[in-house]
Symmetry: C2
Subunit: 190 residues, 2 copies
């Protein structure tokens, strides 16, 4: 969350640190605060002024990535038939996820699971709404929650395959969208 | 891997450390070597004789859990029809996974992803064989690999829901088996 009282150069420094951290985490999940400060071109004192601990910085990186995801997803037109809305949402989430996945996963490793879950909540809520429209009247409500968890797990698994270099982003997206449609019991566009 | 030249008391100490670590990791993934030594009732020097670093110990805990899984799965009769074999394999893997999941996930957090993947390989290979029988001739070979990854991801997601207290093991297993059958395109027993 941006503090409007921060001076412009302080905001630029803060953003430079976040960008550098995300970039470094791609290749080295345990990049140190010192390495991040060097890559961002700011002093350690400046960095610590924005992020007192490494965990504060990791949380801010994750928060920014999820915030971006939420804005992209918020701009989607989901007024289509349920199956089409689900496919659009999965495709858009995929686009956001494939980009920052490695870094965000790295960040997740140092955070407690409940913090990670809480930060994901806005993204999860949107998915839950669309899954609900897809399965309502056909699947018991308590099984709907599992479908949301399962779709999320498939998205992260697909992103992990791309990160590990075992498949291309295009092939992963195609398989992911097909599997989600099968799992939720809809056909894309159907 | 057990060293047959270890004296009986050394083997007992080693096993006590592994058991204590698994148990502590359930509630505290970052339990220290000192805490583990105390819980196991062995001295720190003894513990370090078996596991020079904490990572060595974590690797041994994970290796033991996966070894147990592999033995349980190796005893399964998978000479049934493909769909039935898949359902049996998922149910058995689930039983093993639900028990040690929290601890193993905790351990995974400190290991590089490729080490974790390599240790999972025997379990993954077995699943890949059964999935192959289920979909052969119906799904392109390159998509088979994704189905194996997807089924693994669903199993871990279901175990995570139980660990987080959001569902019971019984309900999670029922949903997991149904979802796997749908995803792979088979009906249990069909």
């Amino acid at each position: 969350v941006k503090d409007p009282t921060l001076r412009a150069d302080a905001r630029r420094n803060r953003q430079a640190v976040l960008d550098a951290a995300l970039e470094l985490f791609r290749t080295d999940p345990s990049a140190t605060v010192t390495q991040i400060a060097v890559a961002a071109g700011v002093g350690r004192v400046t960095l610590h002024g924005h992020f007192p601990t490494r965990t504060d910085l990791v949380l801010a990186v994750l928060d920014q990535a999820l915030g971006r995801a939420d804005r992209v997803l918020g701009d989607l037109d989901l007024d289509a038939a349920p199956a089409e809305a689900l496919d659009r949402l999965v495709a858009a989430t995929w686009t956001v996820l494939a980009d920052g996945h490695a870094a965000v996963e790295a960040a997740c490793r140092v955070l407690p699971a409940d913090r990670v879950d809480a930060l994901h909540q806005p993204v999860t809520d949107r998915l839950a709404g669309v899954v609900h429209r897809c399965v309502t009247g056909r699947v018991p409500e308590e099984d709907e929650e599992w479908l949301v968890v399962a779709v999320s797990a498939l998205m992260h698994a697909a992103a992990g395959e791309v990160t590990a270099g075992r498949t291309t982003a295009g092939a992963a997206e195609r398989r992911l969208r097909a599997s989600v449609a099968v799992l939720v019991g809809v056909r894309p566009g159907g």
